[in-house]
Symmetry: none
Amino acid sequence: MQKILIVDDEAKIRAVIREYAEFNGYGVSEAADGMSAVAKCKEENFDMVILDIMMPKFDGFSACKEIKKLKDIPVIMLSARGEEYDKLFGFELGVDDYVVKPFSPKELMARVNAVLSRRGGAESRAEVLAFDGLEIDMPARSVTVDGKKAELTPKEYELLFYLVRNKNIAMSRDKLLSDIWGYDFFGDDRTIDTHIKNLRNNLGPYRSRIVTLRGVGYKFEA
Amino acid sequence: MQKILIVDDEAKIRAVIREYAEFNGYGVSEAADGMSAVAKCKEENFDMVILDIMMPKFDGFSACKEIKKLKDIPVIMLSARGEEYDKLFGFELGVDDYVVKPFSPKELMARVNAVLSRRGGAESRAEVLAFDGLEIDMPARSVTVDGKKAELTPKEYELLFYLVRNKNIAMSRDKLLSDIWGYDFFGDDRTIDTHIKNLRNNLGPYRSRIVTLRGVGYKFEA
DNA sequence: CGCGGGATGCAAAAAATATTGATAGTGGAC
DNA sequence: GTCCACTATCAATATTTTTTGCATCCCGCG
């Protein structure tokens, strides 16, 4: 079941959306402000966030930015008519769709479905990513560094892909070992270090994207 | 590179779309009104036109009609909410998609990609392809290497065609076996390797187009 | 300032994987 | 039935990758 996080300061609006969303077979969580929305996204994996712009504490824009930094979750923004249209065009915001209040719940759900199906639809699961001159093409299993192809070993691919898919999230050695090597791997932690080192050596100028978190593990910084 | 013509009277909107489009790897031209849009279409071949409806001089509808008369280019229309919605569905306008303002640029690009891949789908599923001196004619079941016909066995054809149809995508041995040999094939992985070897031997200088992906399988590199 | 627990680098051993050529099985054409 | 091209399997070889142990380095902390 796909889960949606509804963020709006008005309980009434949340309730309406919830009702429709549940009717459409989605699981629903709620948050009343941007801050707690971000917090919830940290602890739970949502498939979609519906985010009001005007909110106390932490507005929708800021929340959106934070959430997108955390994970690549689709976001639909809600706004009152005429409210800060322009900002939506901000390049870095990455909003997936936009619905003007007052909206009909039916229309909102149509958009939710549209966005989700676009994502889930085979290719567009953002499997080809670029960070400056670092291009990562997962389907093709190829990585280019400033236009030059990097030759990675299988484990290096897996490691990189894994870190990128979980970008900006600290991954402990334990988690890396069990997720990439398999839960039944009996081996040394140093193994990871070595692979990280090898991987870094292949990323040239972008080696520092893989950040060491002392005492914890690693993360890919986007 | 695919080229898009963006037509809107507001420079700001054009700029936003341009930014996104270029980010997505498209080439971009702009026009501020319907008249110059048609003119540009006459002199240059675009792969897509994004057309605002409400414009001075020559509105989007008229421009669309003119352009469609000239060439069969996909058109995506932009419209303000509620603005002449109906007409879009009407008649022979042949609009490929439409997006309601305010829209998120991301959504617009998703639609652009969708329309283009829908169109290009037919094309890229082209059954006669050439990579340098390697010509692959699927319907004719013939492959020529630098003008000389290569004699392939049935399995070699299938393998090559399959890889080419999925060019630049890593294909695991599992997938190859189940897609080419059939899901019920009970056999050895090495079988594939051998056929790959035979195939490569028949591709002369282009043998390296079939790239080994250690630990995974193979891919055809275009 | 020195200590200690990671983090890193290196190189060799060990393991995994791909390539290749030889070989045998298969089914159709004659 | 025999021949033949094609296919599958196998085993030896070649290649690459992974792991590991150790030496060294670095950073935060007392």
